[in-house]
């Protein structure tokens, strides 16, 4: 390690905190990080398959952009990337208020699942008896309540007794997973899998727009992105959140009710996760399983953290991650030596490089003998 000091000698490398980097520097560092990631991935791919990494990477583009099979195919494929991006982005948006408050909500996976489960319950039990508008209202309300409850519990105990929120929310994920498994087991009865909900009546399904049911998801998430951005930046509550995040003591002196802010913010965070579950079940899958959130609850944590609570950056980063993911599974489908697991290694390497690049934005490295090297 570099900055261990021995008495009487200046260390070779000194690390010090840097001012906020200008936007172009941020962009350059991120691009360099991405290139580094692709180089490491290229080495990884070459080692195991002996294929030309450039060919492999060009395949990656075909995960999202396909030009060979006509416009409809192109649009459908692109929409599918946007669909997954919307899911990931929605969860990241939900996490933004909590993270800005320095409240580590890593329970998004569970909150999404509970929202989805509530939606599925309404679809199962009221699908035949309610009119469409009433049904959708009930689905939405149920999912918001379910997600909010899953967010409220850890917040309540954290506000009241300082119970560690990271660990609490983590545990809540697995309880949600088991709850979903339990309900799907009841619903499937003797069948081997549960299948689609309301296959015959299509009650509670989103309408078909552009030939896809999930198109509505994209609009909802776009709206949420703007609402949360405005909420965090221009509202009084958003300001309270950032004060609590910076320093709880300052917030107390300023007369902010910290407990109220913590609980309120986590209810909002959980509620948006619940909406995400609602959209996933009603718009994307029309089914529920323990994989409904698909691990995006965890990936979104990385997205939200890297975007530094700016929901528009989140859109860029989540598009990038989904693009890479689809590209990686395209590689896996095209080449024999690689598979879906290789895809997750490729994604992880890219995430590592992006996480590591933060260092060069926040700190500068100074060499001994006065020679100064900016990273």
């Amino acid at each position: 390690m570099s900055n261990s000091t021995r008495i009487g000698r200046e260390p070779l490398i000194r690390i010090s905190k840097k001012d906020v980097a200008p936007w172009w520097q941020k962009a350059v560092v991120r691009v360099v990080a991405l290139i580094a990631a692709l180089v490491i991935d290229a080495i990884f791919i070459y080692l195991f398959t002996k294929m030309n990494p450039l060919d492999v990477f060009s395949t990656m583009f075909k995960g999202t952009f396909v030009f060979d099979y006509g416009t409809t195919f192109f649009i459908n494929k692109l929409l599918r990337t946007l669909r997954d991006m919307a899911t990931l982005l929605c969860i990241a948006i939900a996490l933004a208020p909590a993270f800005k408050m320095k409240f580590w909500n890593i329970g998004a996976e569970g909150q999404v699942l509970m929202g989805g489960l509530a939606t599925a319950c309404v679809m199962q039990y009221f699908g035949d008896s309610l009119h469409t508008p009433a049904l959708f209202m009930l689905m939405l309300t149920a999912s918001i309540v379910a997600g909010a409850v899953w967010g409220f519990l850890p917040a309540f105990f954290n506000a009241k007794w300082k119970t560690n929120e990271t660990l609490f929310t983590l545990m809540m994920n697995y309880i949600a997973i088991d709850a979903v498994a339990c309900m799907t087991n009841i619903w499937r009865g003797d069948k081997s899998a549960m299948g689609t909900i309301n296959q015959a009546t299509q009650a509670g399904w989103f309408p078909n727009i552009f030939n896809q049911r999930f198109t509505l998801n994209l609009f909802i998430v776009a709206a949420l992105m703007i609402i949360v951005f405005v909420y965090l930046r221009y509202s009084k509550q958003g300001y309270e959140i950032s004060v609590v995040g910076e320093s709880e003591n300052t917030a107390k002196y300023a007369g902010i009710n910290v407990k109220k802010v913590v609980i309120r913010t986590m209810i909002i965070s959980g509620a948006i996760c619940g909406i995400c579950g609602f959209m996933t079940v009603a718009g994307k899958d029309q089914a529920i399983s323990t994989a409904t959130a698909g691990g995006y609850g965890f990936t979104a944590i990385i997205v939200a953290w890297m975007a530094k609570f700016n929901t528009f950056y989140m859109a860029i980063i989540s598009f990038l991650i989904v693009f890479l993911e689809h590209g990686a599974s395209e590689i896996a489908n095209t080449y024999g030596g690689l598979n879906d697991y290789a895809a997750s290694v490729i994604t992880a390497v890219i995430l590592f490089c992006l996480i590591g690049s933060e260092f060069f934005l926040n700190y500068s490295i100074k060499l001994r003998k006065g020679s100064k090297k900016e990273a």
Binding site: M1, M171, I175, T299, V345, A348
Partner: protein, 331 residues
């Protein structure tokens, strides 16, 4: 009756051993103030590396197979591989001061993916591969005691050596943390790194060493899972990741004390397998409730977490600086 309980208990012990390794490793890590959510991925890597060590030795050795060498190779490769992944985590969180949760979760994605990918490379067209002789070695029972002690032989002396090593590691880690000066220093770093730094403790060296050793120990949990619990079989859809998350929960349940991991792991195992053995004892569980029973360890953990924070006893709390990065110039 006895046979059911005995079977339940021995399944519990074997299941619990995997968690015990993961838990002790994570406890040592968390005591230094780092929350490593990469444990499930690290255990997968440790499991695969250990399996690969045993499997390839077994194939290469042929008739000159020597149990001791096999054990040595498997344990060392598992420990080192897990430690290397832990080193990545250290580099990011300590040297680059990246966020611990984010890095940890990425480590899990990486570790789970890499172990499964390498597994498919070794397997080729097959869906499972077995290191049968390595399994025999790893599950060798204690010779004389197992046969000659009634009841207890079946319950206590019927496991492979890694089970007893796990208990030994728990005791050792506990002695280290609470009875040595180095352990005291390590705990001081977890509570308040700035104070520890001022007292002349080298924070960086302590953190690196404790996390690397901790992840190495966790990796052995994966090794035990594959070569003993899972009968020496490597399958892609293994349960190591789920057990890794249970191990993270167990750390909280034990209130960061390795000694509690011994009975805590057994309790978790007992709860996790309740659905299989209760029907034999006359308690019928409806099909759908199985999942609810399986959620019990997590519910219990939340209860412990809440009660501990309610009672506000200093010595039972999570290390105070858990999850926070330390940068000397920020004081």
């Amino acid at each position: 009756m006895f046979s059911t309980i005995a079977a339940w208990f021995s399944r519990t012990v074997m299941f619990g051993t995997v968690m015990m390794y993961g838990c002790v490793g994570e406890t040592i890590t968390e005591r230094s103030g780092n929350l490593n959510l990469g444990i499930p991925g690290i255990m997968c890597i440790g499991g695969f590396a250990g399996f690969a060590g045993g499997y390839f030795y077994e194939r290469a050795a042929g008739d000159s197979y020597n149990g001791l060498i096999c054990v040595l190779l498997a344990v060392v490769s598992s420990f080192i591989a897990a430690m290397l992944v832990g080193l990545i985590y250290c580099f990011f969180t300590i040297t680059l001061r990246a966020n611990q949760n984010v890095t940890g979760l990425t480590i899990t994605i990486f570790g789970v993916g890499l172990s499964k990918f390498l597994g498919t490379l070794v397997m080729g067209e097959q869906t499972t591969i077995v290191a049968s002789r390595a399994h025999d070695t790893f599950s060798t029972r204690i010779p004389w005691l197992y046969e000659n002690v009634p009841y207890l032989g079946e319950l206590v002396f019927s496991y492979g050596f890694l089970v007893y090593l796990a208990i030994f590691v728990c005791v050792g880690a506990s002695l280290f943390l609470f009875r040595t000066k180095t352990g005291l220093n390590l705990r001081a770093i977890g509570e308040n790194p700035a104070t520890a730094d001022a007292a002349g403790i080298n924070i960086t060296r302590y953190k690196y060493l404790s996390i690397c050793i901790g992840t190495g120990i966790s990796g052995l949990g994966g090794l035990y899972y594959v070569l003993d619990y899972n009968r020496g079989m490597w399958v892609t859809e293994n349960g190591i990741e789920a057990l890794g998350w249970l191990a993270v929960a167990l750390v909280i349940f034990t209130t960061w004390r390795p000694m509690n991991a011994i009975w805590g792991a057994i309790l978790f195992g007992f709860l996790s397998w309740a659905y299989q053995f209760l029907p034999n004892l006359g308690v019928t569980i409806p099909n759908y409730a199985i999942n609810l029973v399986q959620a019990l360890p997590y519910v219990v953990t939340i209860f412990v977490l809440v009660i501990v924070s309610l009672r506000k006893k200093r010595e039972n709390q999570a290390p105070q600086s858990l999850g926070l990065p330390y940068f000397r110039e920020e004081r």
